[in-house]
Every structure is written in structure tokens, then in C-alpha cells.
Symmetry: D2
Subunit: 410 residues, 4 copies
């Protein structure tokens, strides 16, 4: 671990270097200080694959403990002050009390995520189900979530559907499309006036023949139908192999329909691995599109940056801190791209030169910058190691080994 | 090869069977008689992979010979009366003469396909190129094609773009999007008033980092921008692995933005194999969506069914006849699905039952029906064998072995 | 549903047709009569995705009920007399009693499948685990399974490993390879002398960065190390997108290392759908390689045909009968390929002709043949409909709604 | 561009950092000094996609010019002293003269690459072709290449086959396997006694239904058959999407059958992009396996590191220098992984800790080290910029604009 003096020396050299490259260091510092990343309550509890859940003794057992863990994550990183909730996993009797508890912990309620896949009635779908009563059940759940938004102050309903079919002929695509639009409209209309609905898509799983929202195109069409406050949510793990995600980011930004991200990582399908663990260049490239949007004075973008991961074999808080650090690094690297020089190289049709500009930024070791900002904010320069030293996991394990659990892996 | 009596016996048994299943046989017969499939001029000339073109001695050398081969294909199948042209591959000095020549051959000019990828100036793009003069060159080509449409009577401009980039940073996605819209709009506005522009997409190749129209979502957005007579064209080989194409077909039909198909087949990328050669079930499932659309009295759909293939190792006309026969089979099988029973099974949530209804149709041997319709139309029941017996290839080989060639593989 | 007379008429016409094509109908009939397909005990119990298990009221609750359901499947199809067991899901105290019970039901114990993935200790692997004591635990389980083979008379140990890692650096590939070989060798050596170990591979899941047996190449190397009675098992759903499975079948047959199949179907990853439901042509092509092997008088092949599916949303026995019918159809179609004519076309380099020979077989409606053979064997020509009429599911549901369950979805 | 003092300052800080991490800096320096990368003659000439070749005015026109460009690449990088040749593209009348010319340029002949795909006779295959005379033609070419190895002193025959089929039924997999083994054996036996045959595999293209050597498993089986001096060659772009290539590297090293690499990069299929341009983490992970092998005192590995790229839109020498720099970076990052600490973390089952060790190395900016080594070797710290300043391209363009061309894009 580097000493403060070493960090300082490296920081100085980095700043010197960046300044020479023409980077506005103060602007970069400020944006990094303003970065915010929401963590998901379900990322602190047990999860697994269809082959089994490996329970962790320190895993949070209920909503309160999930908020505690989110708060600890925020304390160590300084950039994760909000927590996404999953209903009914995080459902409590007294929302006002929960809100106050979150407040005491120093975090706030973020996006509300309806769960439209676990009830036995949803075996053949929720908002797309052939039966009107199951669809009504799903509408009721959306209305319930809208109400929870109201009482918790949440301004985002984050909708992911498991709807789809497993076999050709099982149901009619176009009927399902109409049912989906009708049900989501009911949920959309019930939201608080200033709230947004983010519509997620996913290539496949748990449906294995067709998915009702398989790609950004379908989500966009849905949003166009719902209204201005409906936007597409990109989950970085929900694409066909080879898909250029940064292009989709740029396209949706240009259409003013990008609402937010569910960050995670994958090598195969929806692996839900730690963000930045596989092909970190992709995360950097995604962030260059976001930074370009930030640089546009006419931008109306309002992006929710949220993590959505399953830490099946890693201690949950550790994985969350690691994810945040990886996202910070990607953002920092995207911020130091000299976009004016890049544009020049592009105009000059200098393919090699333009690529080298991107590579230089992505190859830069931005750790000294991130560490310095943490120290300035009163944090440990290495949040992960600080968390490990804190003994929190051991303490949590001792307290949580027994007792009932709610949530995904329960 | 079955005798006429055998065909008759099999036909009788099939009709009996279908009638019992509740199929309206007369309607099926009529729709099959009305089926039309356009063949591409470039499918009759040499083509290849980047590793080489294997020249075939019987391959058509110029536009006139390509029309001859298309006419022969139509003579044997009875369902392929129009020919798509590729400009400038098929460019001639005297369009009126060409039109008259086609007329004499018994075929007509179909879709006009601009070529925006072969000029050296297009190395970094055509309508998305960073340089305004290259973009103007691409606009001029679109205007030229619009003019050719006017003189040939073609009412479809079929646009496929090779535009994209090979390396991160090479160009700006959003700038390219705006350039693309501007250039295509110019082409769109220049078309005859009743003509349509079909906008094709492709997952990748020849661009290897990003493609400017990679999926149906981007094509749809482009069409929404261009105007009512812009529609999406689906090339069956242009999707990421695992993509559910029949879902896209249904979705675009429902959005009233499906304009047509480029039929071919693939196991890997854009392999351009004979339609129906790999996973013929997929073609059947695509056609069930089309038949359902036909069954809708309110449908406004107007679908152009076109083949787009590279017969690198097969004799070209043989492969074309084979493709047409495979498409006929898929359509026939889709026509005999009892959609009312299917809807009932879907409503009853009988997953197995609904699937079995689809499978029964797909497993039915519809050859006796197709053969009978051919015989009734004065054709040989097996067009491929009839063509082989005709000696056309041998004659063509003798005539075409030498001389200059135009087109793709030239 | 066709009458017996109709089946007879169609059968006669089909036989006439096949005979004209040069097919040895008696040989085809005989081979179809001898076809055997093993069903998996776990296919009769609840299963699901990581997002949830939808419990079915008629699902088998324990080993005895799973054998009952397998016996019913066999009664309706006549070709599924053996049942694969999964240990410890199917573990019983008295194996002799179980064997006798199976005998009474008219089925027998087939392959024994060790479970090396569900114990909490296996979170980071089983036979590849970094800790020697966990590896010993996995060896002990293999020895236990070898012992169960002895008492049940099973002659196949079917090994699938979930071993792998989720993150770069998590463990050392080569160390894991050596551990794997050492542990499997212990299991191999413990098997009855005439028994085989079938080594399955899988592209990914539940491991998401690397899998220790990801492809047939690794399984083959493992088998070469273990000994002559180790062979590769192909699960049809365990390959990368685009993989040509029939080529692997041919290759392993040629290396005399193909031991068996786990049949199921997929559109995306390891979807575990009903065999033959997606891209049935692939199953046909796989079977053509198997038939060619059967036709070879020098063949030493001994292939175990086993189903491995998760019927998440279909009634389990219905899905199993459907799967068997689909496999029968693929085999029947592969049997009627005129391989001599195919070889001639191949030698003549007639690409179109050779393909048409394959297509004609695959397009043939072989139902009348399969139905006739069923009738001759005293079975209903349509086993699925007969099963539905039997009321078995309703009866099972009434009995099984309550009570403890063992197995996957328990 | 940093000054020498800046490079020195950064180097000092980096060395201090690495030393603290426990890295043996001298060893790292020495290995980087010894690194060698072979460039391909065909990478200096025109290439393209099936949609066209964009000729570059500075592209090398013949073998001599390709050697010149390779020499220039070596002069600027100091690590690329050998050049792979492609026969017949690089065929010359006087091999002795060519060898001497290479010698004068300061480079030497590397691997000999037979071309078994461009002759019209190879339309349906080369060593797997149904006709014995075409197979003999392919054998003759292998013998010719063996002879060229003798006269040029090359000790590697690098075999890539385009063999495969486009349609089911086109040919027999097992017959082709036997033909392939027989023909390659003839080539293998004809090689100089100390030479190796490297057997490449490729998932698909230009064959689109099956490829005769589609994966490392088939290449391994072929090598096992040929003899001890046959080894597998890994082309980094020749795998199915999602394939874990570093695992294959480790596996083949452990089997002592990894012979070498063809480095390039891909996002989709065999895109032949600049190495390290897409997902550079993958290249780093591949190199960690190679470094671990180097660290093994018992290793017998002898790996040929070769580049195989198509620079369709980049100036060729620039792309080659860029590739070499990217490979150097990946190697440098892999060298500074503290493998002892990694092993400790793995043994402690610290998934997060082990991953962080890998990430820290991959995130380290090793440019100051590479630049310093270049300066010490009398090279410019930034070879790409130095090459651009040299005016070589402009001079080459002036000389090469006209005249006949040999090779791929000719």
C-alpha cells in the first residue's frame, strides 16, 4: 500500500502529465467528486444460480440489514448514497420508519424495482400473461410500487420483465405486445408526476424462446408509447454476444431516451459479475459516450447510474466496493480523453491517431487521482482494504448466521 | 421421381388430411398461387469470400445475362417474375432498352439497390463519411438510383449501408447518425411519389467495431425520421447469434414498418447460404407471422419478398430455384397452421398443445400440394430437376467462358 | 386424430415411396423397434431458473414417484425402459428395494449421475477445489456412486462438473486440471470393471469466467488420461452459439470416444428445452452421423441415448413423451437417407444434389411409419394424446399436492 | 510527447512502485528485452473484405517491398526481426537472393505459410477434397513449402486450412478427417528434421456449414497423429464468441502442444483487427499464462509469437508498429503480476484479493518502462510517432503507386 507521500508524488506527476495533454484537471476533479452510483439492496443478500445458492454467513437478512450494508459501502466510497429497493423483497410495514432509518444511516431510497416474476401465477408471464386476472395482478403490483415511490420519495420506477415464452406457438407476440403496453401504461400513469419509468430489456433468460423486451429497440418503442417520462434502462449484461453497447448508449442519448444503467459484467450471458471484471475497456468506452454528453451544453440527459449484480461467491460488500472503484476508474479515464484532439483526428481521418488518443486515456493509471480525491474527502485512499481492516464482515457474520431471511436467495 | 399418378394419390391423401384438420384448402391453394419472390441480379454472377472468388464458367457476365438467368428461374418456378438490380453493377446506357429486353424475357425490374461501398472514396463510409464531399457523392448516387427507379418503373429503393468503423475512437457515433439521416433524406425525397425506401440493417461486416445500422431498432428510428414510405428491410442473415427473428417480424408488422425481406441462410455470420438450408424451422416460424398478418382484414402490410444470396460453390440458377422451392415450402407449412386452434390452445395456456399444433404443420410433407399446383400451372412438378435436364447450364458455360464481366466478383 | 385406416393408407403410400427411393424398409423398421432412450429421474420433479421454481402439483416428490413417472412414460412410448438417477437427489436407504420396485414398474436403473455442485463446500469447485479436503469429499462421492452402480447394476457413471471460476485470477487453470484428473481417476478406478465413465462438458454456467471442462477437446483429453472405458458425453445444449454439433459427433465416433448423449434443446445458452423444439434439423443431422456409424460393420460404438431436460413450464411427463417422439422422428428421418446415393453425389461434387438428398429425408413425414410401429407394438399411435386421455396427471396432482419433496427444485 | 527527463521521472516512480510490490525488476527488464514478435509479409500488402479491397498507395507490391516494410518495422521497434512468408504470394525465383536481401535489410525469414485456398481447384477443399488429384496438388504444395523451408532456413510450417463445407450433406466429415491426416502427414514428413508444423484452427469462414479444423480439440488430435513436432497454433480471432482463450493457452501448454500464436483482434468473427484494439484485458490474461509457463523451470515450451492481421483501413506499417507496442504492453503487465502473492490468495480462497492482484498489474501504466528500454536500445521511446516523422510512408507512396502487385489483395 502506498504512503500518503507516494500518493502525492504520483498524483503530482499525473497532474503534470494530464495538464500537458491539455486536460482540464479541475473539471475532471469536480466531476469525479460529483459522481454518484446507486447500489441495489438485493446485492447485499444471498443470490445464486439455478444450480444452487451458496449462503454467506455475513449476508444481509432483511431490508434493514441491506440498508446497513449499503450505508457501509457509502461510508467507504463516498459516492453511493442511495439504495435501490426490490418489491416485495424489501417490502416493510412502515415505510416512514424505513425512510427514517435510511436517513439515520446516511443513505436514501433510490429506484423502486417491481418484481413481476416470482409469484407462481407469473409462470407464463406477468403484464403479457394470456389471462386478464394475472395481468391485473401485475398492474396492482405496479400501482403498489408507485405508491411506495410516493411515500419513500423515490422518483424512478425501474421495470424489468421476465415475460417471454419457451416454445414456438406458446403465445402470440403481437397480443403480448398490446397487453404489455396496456399494463405498463397503468403503472406509468400512477407514478408521481415528476417520476420516471425506466424500461429495461434483456436478450434472454428466464424465457428461452422469445422475450417480450429483448433489445433496446423494443424498449424504445414502449417508451415512445408510454410518454415523455419513460426511458430506456441499459443493463450492461443483457445483450447478444458481440453487441456494441457504447453505440446503443450514444444512440439513446441522441434520441433523449436513455434513462439509466444497471451496471454489471459478463463473459457469456447475464452473468451478473462485478462491473469492470471482464473487458474493462467496454466500460471505458461506454463512459466516453456519457462524458461527451456531459460536455454538450444542450444536453437534457439525466442518467441514473445503478449497480445490479449477483455476488454468488464474493463477499457482497467487498464486491460492491470493488464495483464502485472500477466504475470510478472508467469514468476518470473517460474524463481525461482530450475530445477536441479526438475530433481533430477524426476529421483528419487519422484512424490510428484517433484510436491512440483513446488508448492513451484508457492506459493511464488514474489511481493517484482517485486516491487523492478520497483522501481529500476524508476517506481511505483504498476503500476495499479499509473495509477489510474494519472487521465489519466478521461482526456481521456473527450476528447474521441465524434467523429468517427475505429476498432473492431466501 | 414420382409419377403424375403418385403425385395425385399423395395430393389426395394430403388434402383429405388437411381438410380434417380444418384447413381451408382452397384458400391455401390460392395464396400459394399468388406467392411472388424476387430474385437478385447479383445472385446470377460470380461471388466469393474475402479469400477468393471461384469463377463459374456458366456465371452471367452482364446485366442482360443476369436477366436471362432470372427469366429462366421464373420459367421453371412460375413465382419469380421480378429482378432486383444493383447499381452500378447493373448500370446500362439505355434503360428503356433494358426494360424492353426484360419484358421480352418475361420478367420485370424490381427493387433498385444502390451500392454505397465499393468506391475507394467509401473506405471510411458513405452517407456517414466525415467528409462532406464523399457524403455528397453518396447522395448523388441515391439520386441517380431514384432516377433509375423512374425510368424502369421500380417502386422500391433497397438501401444497405456498409458504413461503420473498425476501431474505437475512429469516428463519432452521433455525428454519423446525423449525417446518415441527412443523406438518406435526400434520397428519400428524390424517389417517385409512390415508391418506398427499405432500410436494411446488419449486425456487422464489413465494419468490425461498430456498424451505423446494426439492428432493427436503428433502422426503425431512421424510418420514423424519413417518412411514411420508409420501412425496415429484414435480411435473415444479419442478426446476432440467437436472435429471435420471427419476433422482429411480428413487432415490425405491428408497427406497420416492415417493408420486405432479403432471404438467405446462415449458421455463423452473414453466410449468404441458400434460404432454408440451415434451420428451416426458422423460416417456417417467420412465415407463420406473415400468414397471421395476411389473415388480418385490417392489415396494411405490403411486403417485398426478395432473395439475397451468394452462391459461391453452387451453380447459381440451381441454388436460386432451390431457394424458391424452400421458401414455397415454408409458406405452405405456415398456411396450414390452424390458427384458430392455436389461439385456443394459447388461451387455455396449453404450452405443449400449442407447440404440437405448430410442429404438426411444420412436419407435414407439403410437396404433393406444391407439385400439384406446379403441374396445374403447366410447370414441371420438380423445377430443379427439370432445369438440370434442360441443359441450360452447359449451354451457358459454352457461351460465357470468355469475355468481360461486370458485377460483384468481377 | 387419424383413424387406423387412415394411418394404414398413409403408411402404405410412405412405404411405397421409400421403397422407390431405395430404402431398406425392413431394416428401418427393425432399427426403430430397437431404439432405446433413457429418461432422467430429475426430469419428473420440479425445476426452474435462478429466478424461481414454479412448482407443479403433479410433479414427482421422491425417487419412487420419479420411477413411477418414468414407467408411465415407458408404457406410452415403449422405448424408454431405463431411468438415470441423480445422487444424492435419488438416494435411498435400501437400494435393493428400489431396484425391485423399478423392476415391478417395468423399468430399470440406468446411468448414475454424481452431484458435485450443490453442497456448500463446493462453492469454489469440487474435484478442482483448491482445498484437498473438499476434493476428498468429491472423491468420496464418486466412490459412493461407484458403489451404487454395483448394487443397482448400472454400468454408466455420467459425470458433469460445475467446476470453474468466476473471475480472472481466482484460481490456476493448470493446477485445477491436475486436481481434476486425479479425482476423476479415483472415481474411474472404483467403477465396476465393465462400467464406463462418461465425461460431459459445458461451455459455461454456473461458472462465468472459465469452466474446467468447457468443450469436447478437454473431455477427450481427460478420457485419454483416464482409460479406455472413459468416453465423452455430448449434451446437445452445452456448446457455444454456432457450433456444429454433428461434426463433433462424427469426430468423436471416429476417435471411438463418443459414449452418449444428454438430449435437450436450446436457442440461447443451456436452456434445457424439449429436444427437437428449436431447430429440429440439427437433431436430424446428428442422427445421420449416428446412423452412418451403425451402418459401419466395424463400428465398436456403444452409445447411451439419454434425455436431460428441465420442464419448467410444461407438465413433466408430457414433455418427456414429446421429447421421445421428436427423437424417434429424427432417427426415422436419418434412417431413410439413401447413404449410397449421398456418397455418389458427394463423389460427383454435386453440392446441390447431395443437399437435396438430405433435405428430402428430413422433409419426409415419417409419422405414419412411427404410428404403425406403435400400433404393431400394442401402443396408441399417438402416445401424447393417449397419455392426456389417461387422467394420470390429474390423479398424480391429487396425490402429490402436499408432502416433502426431494431433488433439484426442492 | 514526454521529454527524456519526464520519462526518467516516471520510470523511477514506476520502478519504486514495482519494487515495493515485490517485482523482480531486472528480470522483467531482461525478458522484455528478449521479447520477439514475427510480422507477416501479407500484413504489408493490400487486403480487404469480400465487399472490396481499398488499395493503399503505400502498400508493398511484392516480396521485396514487404521485406523492406518488415525491416522498417523492426528498425523502429527492435523486437520484430523475422518475417513470415505466404506461398505462393511471396514466391520468388531465387530464394538464395531473397535470403541475402533479407539479411541486408536486417531481417530473416520466419514461418512458411502454405496457401491451400486460392486455387480454383480448391473450391471444395484442399487436403480434404473428394478428388485424389486435388489432394495430391495440396500435398505437392506442402512439399514445395517444405523445400522452401530448407533453402530459407525456416523451421516452422504454419498450416491454416480453409477446408470445410457450406451445406449439410455436401461431404462426409469422417472421410475428410482421414484425407486431411494423410495429406498433412506427407507435408510433416517432408519438413526438415528440426522443423515444426503448427496446425491452426478456425471456428468458421470461408466455409459456412462445417470447418474441418474448427477448434483446438481437432488441431490437437491432428497433432497427436502427426508426431511430436506438430503443435497447435492459436489465432486469437478464431474462436466462438465467449470462448475463454487463455484457458486454451494454459491447457495446450500443459499438454506440451502449444506451438505459437497468430495475434490479431476481433469483436465479431475473424475481424483481423490490430492486436489489443478490442478487449485488451484478454491479451493480458493470455500473457499471464505464458509468463507462468516461462516461470516454470521444467517448461519445454517453444512459442512462436506471430502477428496475423489485415489492415484494411489503416496504413500497414503503422498498424504493425501499433500491434507490437500493444503486445509489449500486455507482456509487461503480465510480467509484473506477483505470482507468489496470487498463488497465496488462491490458496486462501480470497476471490476478491486474487482478482485485485491481477487488476493492479493490468491497470499499471508500464509505458515508462517500455519507453526507457527503447531509449536504452537506441530507439525512439515512441516508435509510432518516430515512424510517422520519418516520412517513410510518403516516400513509399510515391514509389509504389503504379506497377504490378502480388499477394492477397492483388
Amino acid at each position: 500500500m502506498p504512503t500518503k507521500d507516494q500518493i502525492q508524488a504520483r498524483y503530482n506527476l499525473l497532474i503534470e502529465d494530464l495538464t500537458e495533454r491539455g486536460v482540464d484537471v479541475n473539471d475532471v476533479r469536480q466531476r469525479l467528486q460529483n459522481q454518484r452510483i446507486e447500489t441495489p439492496s438485493w446485492g447485499y443478500g444471498d443470490s445464486g444460480t439455478r444450480f444452487g445458492v451458496f449462503q454467506q454467513e455475513w449476508a444481509a437478512r432483511n431490508t434493514q440489514e441491506r440498508l446497513q450494508d449499503a450505508a457501509v459501502t457509502h461510508q467507504h466510497t463516498g459516492v453511493a448514497p442511495s439504495v435501490a429497493l426490490h418489491i416485495p423483497w424489501d417490502k416493510v410495514d412502515d415505510w416512514a420508519a424505513l425512510k427514517q432509518y435510511a436517513d439515520e444511516l446516511g443513505v436514501e431510497v433510490g429506484a423502486i424495482n417491481p418484481n413481476l416474476f416470482q409469484e407462481p401465477d407469473y409462470m407464463l408471464g406477468s403484464v403479457c400473461h394470456p389471462d386478464a386476472d394475472v395481468r391485473q395482478m401485475s398492474i396492482d403490483h405496479l400501482l403498489e410500487c408507485a405508491e411506495i415511490m410516493r411515500v419513500t420519495g423515490s422518483d424512478i420506477m425501474s421495470v424489468w420483465l421476465a415475460d417471454g415464452t419457451n416454445y414456438p406457438g406458446q403465445d402470440d407476440f403481437r397480443e403480448r405486445k398490446r397487453r404489455l403496453l396496456e399494463c405498463l401504461q397503468a403503472g406509468y400513469d400512477a407514478m408521481p408526476n415528476d417520476a420516471r419509468m425506466l424500461v429495461e430489456y434483456k436478450f434472454f433468460e428466464p424465457a428461452f424462446y422469445h422475450t417480450d423486451l429483448p433489445d433496446w429497440g423494443t424498449s424504445l418503442v414502449v417508451c415512445q408509447n408510454l410518454g415523455d417520462r419513460a426511458q430506456v434502462l441499459i443493463d450492461t449484461g443483457h445483450h447478444a454476444q458481440g453487441t456494441n453497447i457504447e453505440f446503443i448508449v450514444a444512440y439513446l442519448l441522441d434520441e433523449e431516451r436513455l434513462g439509466g444503467f444497471h451496471f454489471n459484467c459478463r463473459k457469456y450471458a447475464d452473468d451478473d459479475l462485478t462491473t469492470g471484471s471482464i473487458n474493462p475497456q467496454e466500460l471505458f468506452l461506454i463512459y466516453t459516450e456519457l462524458v461527451k454528453e456531459e460536455n454538450d451544453p444542450n444536453s437534457t440527459a439525466d442518467i441514473a447510474y445503478m449497480i445490479d449484480q449477483s455476488h454468488n461467491i464474493k463477499p457482497k460488500i467487498e464486491a460492491m466496493i470493488q464495483s464502485i472503484m472500477n466504475i470510478q476508474m472508467a469514468y476518470a479515464r473517460a474524463l481525461i480523453v482530450p475530445y477536441d484532439q479526438l475530433k481533430e483526428a477524426q476529421s483528419a481521418k487519422d484512424v490510428v491517431g484517433a484510436e491512440m488518443i483513446m488508448q492513451q486515456a484508457n492506459n493511464t493509471d488514474v489511481e493517484p487521482l482517485l486516491q487523492t480525491l478520497r483522501v481529500e474527502a476524508g476517506l481511505d485512499p483504498n476503500p476495499l482494504e479499509a473495509f477489510r481492516r474494519s472487521g465489519y464482515l466478521e461482526k456481521a457474520a456473527a450476528e447474521r448466521r441465524e434467523g429468517p431471511r427475505t429476498g432473492w436467495g431466501a
